[in-house]
């Protein structure tokens, strides 16, 4: 036994796993004989020579894994069908790839532009916007971007829609010039022969990548990618694999080097035809943007440089260069301003630049009544602030509803717990009956009860308590919402209270009274403290349900009785500003979690009981 004590002090009287641990170790040591026996503080070893701690941990790990495997189906189910979609939705509150994916060249061109200088961006930005917008308009993605930017700057929606309609005609004169010069410019085969070759694969890959980003915005960030993987399992993959697309031609490296803009535009045209139209470049002449790009490239080359080019159709290119000298270059700036004079102002450009990064705080700022300004985030004008007010109101009203539920539910639960079984059961049915009725029916019933020509007002007028022209306003305001929601949520308070109260033996109260307590003291000191876990459970249930309610406030809340959830619903289903809705939802979730944490700190979540 002397060796046992040397392995550490034993404090507990009863045998514990720890004891067994030490016991094994000691026995083990003893069996190994004197050579190790002297080292009392060395690591204890299992029979196979591994440290005992390790071997035990391994045994436990196997057990844990088994347990995990048992709950794995449920865990995976919850993750896939509940956590992932919610995370995916909340992620929208920061993601903003749409600007960069739709206008990559413009975003790049604007990166060096000083938005605060008051000057318009350089010509290169206008040109970049032309090529971005042209492709976006063909793929019908520009209006979606317009809607996105319209949340930040009113007017962007029609600006993009309108210019998207006109963008085909930019540089019309130069396009016609080329087409008139030689009929072959309008032939698909001519273009293929001019651009075909090898070595231009990189340009084609870039175009593929670019178009897939533009066309499929459902892959968003790492989370979006993971989510797409999950969806892929169920047969609805998010994106077309870039490698699967047959373009019907290969690009010449020489051509791409000499005519970079044209190669890029033609590659995008080819990808568009292949993915969107399921055709190839051989089926149609290129779109206008390719001609405009060629015009730009030909002007950028000196005649000597072009003379050195010996690719296919070099003669035609030289003829085109000579002919294009007679028409002025495409003035993108003038074309944009002619399409919509707003392009001649700084505002739209500033908006594009501000929202070019792939992630934004804009939605969250908006959700707390702030906005991005040149000097950083600032509060909105007073007449546009709404969310702070709504958050406050939501919290206040949810608390009011919770307290009303406690006040009304407590006596009912006490009655249920203390009446004879027969009567209690009948009462219980009365509590549960509204619970089984449709939410809408209950809410609408309150409307009938509370409105000015409603039952309660009619009775009051009949009794002569209020004058006919002084009927009480009890609905379409906070009062209406609190009344209706208290009624709807009352069972969630009564049921936990009832199940806790049922377990309190009546003898406690009798004992308190027999020891001289007044009924009030006995209730306060003996009965009430034992019901606190029930109140806790009921309050959490009611409060968390109340904070997310929106149907009832929508119907009976009028203007002063609506919740933040009504705005979230509006942004999800009406304004389609899902980013803002996600930001508001995230804030609401955080508020609830913080309150839950505070509750745990103050009351202690262990004190919550849902049943006896």
């Amino acid at each position: 036994m002397s060796r046992l004590s040397s392995s550490g002090p034993q404090t507990a009287d009863a045998p514990t796993p720890e004891d067994a641990f030490h016991e094994t170790a000691t026995l083990d040591d003893r069996a190994r004989g004197p050579q190790r026996g002297t080292e009392a503080d060395g690591p204890m070893l299992a029979a196979d020579g591994t440290p005992l701690k390790k071997s035990l941990a391994r045994a436990l790990r196997a057990q844990k894994l088994r347990a995990l495997a048992l709950i794995a189906p449920l865990l995976i189910f919850v993750l896939v069908t509940f956590i992932a979609p919610i995370a995916d939705m909340l992620f929208r509150s920061v993601e903003n790839q749409i600007v960069r994916d739709t206008l990559p060249r413009t975003s790049a061109a604007l990166a060096t532009w000083d938005a605060e200088s008051g000057d318009l961006p350089p010509d290169s930005a206008f040109e970049a916007l032309y090529s971005d917008l042209f492709l976006a308009a063909e793929a019908r993605r520009h209006t979606r971007l317009g809607q996105r930017l319209n949340y930040e700057n009113t007017g962007m929606s029609s600006l993009f829609r309108g210019t998207g309609r006109d963008v085909d005609d930019f540089g019309e004169a130069n396009v016609e010039m080329l087409e008139d010069l030689d009929d072959r410019w309008e032939e698909a085969e001519f273009w293929i022969s001019m651009t075909s070759g090898t070595g231009g694969a990189a340009v084609l890959d870039a175009a593929r990548e670019r178009f897939i980003r533009l066309d499929d915005l459902s892959t968003r960030g790492p989370l979006g990618d993971a989510w797409c993987g999950v969806k892929g399992v169920f047969g609805a993959p998010c994106a077309v694999s870039a490698e699967d697309v047959d373009l019907g031609f290969t690009l010449s490296g020489d051509f791409a080097e000499t005519f970079p803009r044209t190669a890029e535009a033609y590659a995008e045209f080819a990808v568009f035809m292949a993915i969107e139209e399921e055709e190839t470049v051989a089926d149609d002449e290129p779109w206008e943007a390719v001609y405009v790009a060629l015009d730009r490239d030909l002007r950028a080359l000196s005649p000597e440089e072009l003379a050195a080019y010996d690719g296919p159709e070099a003669e035609a290119l030289r003829a085109a260069q000579a002919a294009l000298a007679d028409v002025p270059p495409v003035d993108f700036r003038a074309a944009f301003v002619a399409s919509d004079e707003d392009w001649g102002t700084v505002e739209p450009w500033r908006t594009i630049r501000t929202y070019a990064p792939p992630y934004t705080t804009g939605y969250f700022l908006n959700a707390v009544d702030m906005q991005k300004t040149p000097d950083g985030p600032a509060l909105r004008d007073e007449d546009e602030r709404i969310y702070g007010l709504l958050f406050q109101r939501t919290l206040f009203m949810s608390l009011m509803i919770t307290f009303s539920c406690i006040l009304l539910g407590y006596p009912v639960a006490w009655l249920l717990a203390n009446l004879p079984m027969r009567t209690a059961n009948l009462l219980m049915i009365l509590v549960l009956l509204p619970f089984w009725t449709s939410l809408l029916v209950r809410t609408s019933a309150w409307k009938v009860m509370l409105q000015q020509q409603g039952v309660i007002n009619d009775v009051l007028v009949w009794l002569g308590l209020v004058a006919d022209d002084g009927r009480l306003i009890m609905i379409n305001n906070q009062f209406g919402t609190i009344v209706a929601m208290t009624h709807i949520l009352l069972p969630f308070m009564i049921l936990p209270l009832y199940s806790v109260m049922q377990t309190i033996p009546p003898s406690y109260m009798r004992a308190a009274k027999s020891l001289g307590a007044t009924p009030l003291t006995a209730f306060r000191r003996v009965y009430f403290p034992q019901t606190v876990p029930g109140i806790g459970a009921g309050s959490i249930l009611v409060f968390i349900l109340a904070i997310g309610y929106y149907i009832t406030p929508e119907i009976v809340g009028g203007t002063t009785g609506t919740f933040i959830s009504n705005r979230i619903a509006y942004h999800i289903s009406s304004s389609l500003n899902w980013g803002l809705a996600a930001a508001l939802g995230s804030i609401l979730l955080v508020v609830v979690l913080v309150l839950y944490w505070a509750y745990d700190k103050i009351v202690g979540i262990d004190n919550v009981k849902l049943g006896g």
């Binding site: 019908r140 809607q147 009113t154 007449d383 546009e384 602030r385 289903s573 500003n577």
Partner: protein, 379 residues
């Protein structure tokens, strides 16, 4: 204002010379493979019923193998369609939406662009569909069905004695002469226009004024005058109910709802057509339908939007057919037997002073003005 002209013209009783050739035309997809079931999305209630009676049932009678399922989701069609598209699983075949939603769906790339002359039947006199619908085709994705309007109804029995019934939209603001609550829709659209109009802004300048900060404040100030007397509605059924209960003296809603309160339910309610706001409702085809699905939809549309079918619809609900050529064919209510033409929002007597929903303006300003409006409401 071409739309106005088209609307007016559509009620002029010009009897079309019967070029019957157009009537016998087969749909452009006849004979192609088609699926036998359709999921149609509409608004539920009396409107969906009018569609069911006027063209879905007749279509199924002609094609007994086809079955149609209704989904009453038009209210949230844009959000749901977007969610379906993101999930890669669109389950709808044909969706009924208001024009502003059609424009948004088109903008989002969720609705299919169509060539109206290719997929819609010409008028009986041979006029192309695009001319027959005229300016009501407000988007390349939108196939109009009906013209409706948002206007006011009032309790005839609550008009004070010795006072004429209200005949101007500005009587909404006149709480001295016409005491009692009003009900207005809980959104800026229409309310802001009426407020500016009654604040003295000329009708053709309303949207110019509303585009400015001052104009928006001016409209809200005007609405402030009656803020305490207003019950704000969000569902089309609210105002008819509030009127029937006597909760409000007057309120705005869709003219078809008022028709049913007045004529079908016989309530003491009168119509106030002044400054009614015209709007459109119609079909869109979701983008990326399977070919067999699309063929079925096109075959159905060919039938369901022809001149006779649109005229038939007005026998069940008091909304004006979107085709000019349907107007002369509007007859009597299917059950009540009353003439429907005088109940159409487009009837010349009703359309003396009207406003057109400005789609372009609201597409731009909706978010901005709505934020202001809701902040104003919440204060």
């Amino acid at each position: 204002m071409n739309l106005a002209k088209t609307l007016m013209a559509s009620t002029a009783l010009t009897v079309a010379a019967g070029a019957l050739a157009a009537q016998d035309m087969e749909s452009p997809v006849a004979g192609e493979p088609m699926i036998d079931s359709m999921t149609l999305v509409s608004w539920g209630g009396a409107y969906q019923n009018s569609q069911q009676k006027a063209y879905v049932e007749p279509y199924i009678e002609m094609n007994p193998e086809v079955s149609a399922t209704w989904d009453e989701s038009s209210n949230e069609a844009v959000a749901k369609l977007r969610a379906m598209a993101e999930a890669g699983n669109i389950t709808w075949d044909l969706v009924d939406v208001v024009a502003s939603d059609a424009i948004r769906l088109c903008d989002e790339g969720l609705a299919m662009e169509v060539d109206h002359d290719d997929i819609l039947k010409p008028a009986p006199d041979g006029t192309d569909a695009s001319d027959d619908f005229g300016d009501l085709i407000v988007s390349d994705c939108f196939i109009p069905q009906i013209v409706y309007s948002t206007t006011f109804g009032y309790r005839t029995d609550m008009v004070p004695e010795g006072v004429d019934a209200p005949d101007s939209v500005c009587d909404v603001w006149d709480t001295e002469t016409y005491p009692g609550k009003r009900s207005l829709e809980r959104r800026p659209i229409n309310n802001m226009e009426w407020a500016l109009y009654c604040d003295g802004v000329a009708k053709d300048e309303i949207y110019d004024v509303l585009a400015t900060e001052e104009g928006q404040d001016r409209a809200l100030d005007k609405l402030d005058e009656i803020k305490d007397d207003v019950i704000w509605w969000s569902a089309g059924a609210d105002t008819p109910q509030l009127l029937a209960d006597g909760e409000v003296f007057m309120g705005s809603t869709y003219n078809g709802r008022l028709f049913s309160v007045i004529e079908e339910q016989d309530q003491p309610v009168g119509m106030l057509w002044d400054m009614q706001v015209f709007d459109l409702d119609g079909w869109i085809i979701p983008e990326d339908l399977e070919e067999a699905e699309l063929n079925r939809v096109l075959d159905f549309l060919w039938f369901a939007t022809d001149t006779q079918r649109l005229a038939d619809q007005s026998a069940y609900i008091s909304y004006g057919p979107a085709r000019e050529s349907s107007a002369p064919l509007v007859s009597t209510h299917a059950e009540l037997g009353i003439e429907m033409a005088p109940h159409m929002p487009t009837d010349p007597d009703n359309a003396e002073n009207t406003l057109l929903y400005n789609y372009e303006f609201w597409a731009d300003y909706r978010d901005d003005i709505d934020a202001k409006f809701q902040a104003w409401l919440a204060q």
